[in-house]
Symmetry: C2
Subunit: 214 residues, 2 copies
C-alpha cells in the first residue's frame, strides 16, 4: 500500500463507445504512480488496475503490454519538452544563444522529469518498443530541432571548421548535454557544486566554447 493507490473500489462499467475514457484514466493513474514511486519497475499493472478500480487483465484491453503503457506516459512528457524547446528558442535571433538555451532547457526537463528521462535514454534499446528505437527517439529529443539550430550556427560561420558536419556536431552536443542530465537524474545526491543553475549554465558555455570559433 503505497498510499497512492486510493482503491477507488470497482468503478462502474463504461458504455459501449466509451472504452477510451478508461484508457485515459489508466494513463493518468500510471503517470501518478510513476511520479509517486519514481521508478517504472515499481509501478505494477496490478497497482494501476487497483488505482482506477478495475482488474489487471482489463489493462490489456487497452495496451498490448506494460512497456507500451509506460511509454505512452513517457511520450506525453516528451511532447512537453518539444513545446518547451520551441518556446525557449522562439525569440532568439542569435543561433549560438539558441543552442545554449536549448541545452539548458533539455537539462531542466531531465531534472523535472527524471523517470521519463530514465525510461527514454537510460534503458537498453532492446527493451524499448520498436517505434521508439531511434527514429521516433531522434524525433522526440527534438534532434531535428537542434540539428536546425546547429546548421544555423554553421551557416553563420560560428562553428569551428574542424568540428565536422551538422549531424556530427549535433550528436556531440547531445552527448554532452545528456551526460550532465543523466548524472543529475541518476545521482541526485552526488555532491554537486552549490548553485546548480549557475553550474549548468557554466557547463553549457564551456561545452560550446569547444565547438565554436572564438
Amino acid at each position: 500500500m503505497t498510499s497512492v493507490d486510493a482503491g477507488a473500489g470497482r468503478r462502474p462499467r463504461a458504455r459501449k463507445g466509451e472504452g477510451r475514457q478508461l484508457r485515459d484514466e489508466i494513463v493518468a493513474a500510471t503517470e501518478r504512480l510513476l511520479l509517486a514511486t519514481g521508478s517504472s519497475e515499481a509501478v505494477s499493472i496490478r497497482a494501476v488496475a487497483n488505482a482506477v478500480g478495475v482488474t489487471p487483465p482489463s489493462i490489456y484491453r487497452h495496451f498490448p503490454d506494460k512497456t507500451a503503457l509506460i511509454f505512452e506516459v513517457v511520450d506525453r512528457h516528451f511532447a512537453e519538452l518539444e513545446a518547451r524547446l520551441d518556446a525557449a528558442i522562439a525569440g532568439l535571433d542569435d543561433p549560438v544563444a539558441a543552442l545554449a538555451a536549448a541545452g539548458r532547457t533539455y537539462i531542466e526537463f531531465g531534472i523535472e522529469n527524471p523517470e521519463p528521462y530514465r525510461v527514454m535514454f537510460l534503458t537498453r534499446s532492446d527493451e524499448t518498443p520498436d517505434e521508439y528505437k531511434y527514429e521516433r527517439l531522434a524525433e522526440l529529443t527534438c534532434f531535428g530541432t537542434v540539428l536546425g539550430i546547429v546548421q544555423d550556427c554553421i551557416d553563420a560561420g560560428r562553428v569551428r571548421p574542424d568540428a565536422g558536419d551538422a549531424v556530427t556536431v549535433t550528436i556531440g552536443v547531445w552527448a554532452r548535454v545528456h551526460g550532465l542530465t543523466s548524472l543529475l537524474v541518476t545521482k541526485p545526491d552526488f555532491p554537486w557544486p552549490g548553485e546548480r543553475d549557475q553550474f549548468i549554465a557554466h557547463y553549457m558555455d564551456s561545452c560550446l566554447r569547444g565547438l565554436l570559433v572564438d
Copy 2:
C-alpha cells in the same frame, strides 16, 4: 534455457572451510550470465544457482541479496578500469595528453563492459548498495585519479582561469565523457558516425578545447 546455464547437476558438498570456493563459483557464474544476457535483471538467482549446480537459497549463505551479488561482479570489472587508467597515463608527461588518454580509456571501458557500466551509472542511486552510493563510486570511477590529472593541468597553467576549481572541472569532464559513453552503451544501434574510434578522439579533443587555454 538460455543455453548458458549448463546445469552442472548437483555439485558435491564442500568441505568445512571451503565455503569460499562456492562463493567464487557463484560470482563467476553470475559474471558469465551477465555477459551472456547483457542485463542484470535477466540473470536470476535461480539461474545462477542452477549454473553452479546448487539450490537458490544457497546463494543467500554467501550474499545478503541479489544486488550485493551483482555489485560484486561489477566491482571486479571496475577494478580493471582502475588498472587500465593507470596504464594509459603512465608514460605521459603532458597532463593534457594524460587527460585525453584517460577519457578515451574510460569510454572504451564502457563500450567493452556495457552491463557493469549500466549497473554502476545508469541506475537510480537508491537501488545501489550504500557502500557504492558515491564515496566508493567516486573512488571506483577513479575520480581521484582524474582529479589529480586535472590539478596537474591547472598547475601547468593549461586550464582556462574561468573554468572553476579542480573539482568542478573534473565533474564537467566526467559529465562529458559519461554522456558519450552512456549513449554508446544504451543505444548501440544508433547511427553513429562511421569511424568510431576517430569520432571518440575527436569528441574528446573538442571537449577539452572548451576547458583549456588556446
